[in-house]
Symmetry: C2
């Protein structure tokens, strides 16, 4: 695999380490390290989106067309990664199930109902409050999603 193009999402973990963790995980469970599994991990790492199995499959078919990765392999690998807590899945309303690497930072969204623009933000106060709430209710927090809907400053 070629090297990883850096993009603007801050990562809390480097790809090399992530890949190493994955290999350890596979070995520990007597599973094999295949090119399909590698490109799926890499694509999740390099994506700023929350990917659906279908969008991930399309992406793989574009970028790694020579591999002819089947949709079943995408599903199987996502399940494997999710079971191993390397990715988390979220569901957004009617849009179905989406996956993202567990190693990424949280982020929330302001969505303008007029123009559809999306602004990302992170607020430490809310982040820490969420952890407190989860703790107080005996809940192990894995992820969250928060959307604020309204009218952005350009539209008002």
């Amino acid at each position: 695999m070629s090297n990883i193009s850096t993009n603007f999402t801050e990562r809390t973990i480097e790809y090399e380490q992530l890949l190493g963790d994955f290999k350890v995980l596979l070995k520990k469970n007597n599973l094999k390290f295949t090119i399909q599994r590698e490109v799926i991990l890499e694509s999740l790492y390099n994506s700023d989106e929350h990917l659906t199995p279908e969008s991930l499959h399309h992406l793989l078919q574009d970028k790694f067309s020579e591999l002819k990765i089947g949709i079943a392999t995408v599903y199987r690998t996502l399940s494997l990664l999710e079971d191993s807590n390397m990715v988390t899945s979220l569901s957004f309303g009617a849009q179905g199930k989406k996956y993202e690497l567990g190693a990424k930072d949280h982020h929330d969204h302001l969505i303008c109902t007029e123009c559809g623009s999306i602004t990302e933000f992170v607020d430490e106060e809310i982040e820490s409050r969420q952890h407190s709430i989860a703790d107080e209710l005996g809940f192990i927090m894995k992820d969250h999603s928060m959307q604020i809907y309204g009218i952005c400053k350009d539209c008002k």
Copy 2:
């Protein structure tokens, strides 16, 4: 530490009023008020659970077996209610989409990714922080939704 009000499902609206609103809505859109639509609304009102189409269908078959309500009608009515903003849906994991009456107090959700259970909570600190963030970014906040995903105390 501030309080987390785990005030489960306080209703802000009486059933009679809800039913009246529903009838107005139907009339306005030239739709008919049928017994099926009524028992679905009533069952949502009387349930403290977040219902899936399937669980709602089972419940209806138990309580109103003489009506022989079809699963298709359940799906159609839930879509109608959702489009009219009388119910909201949450979806998560492999377990599909769940519905709840929108007329309940505003609250956010803790969703267990293991068993699919949903715990509601309201936290004033987060509520007010959201308003501040929207203000700071020049955004007029209309609504928001927040879900925390993780593992509940029974599953961990």
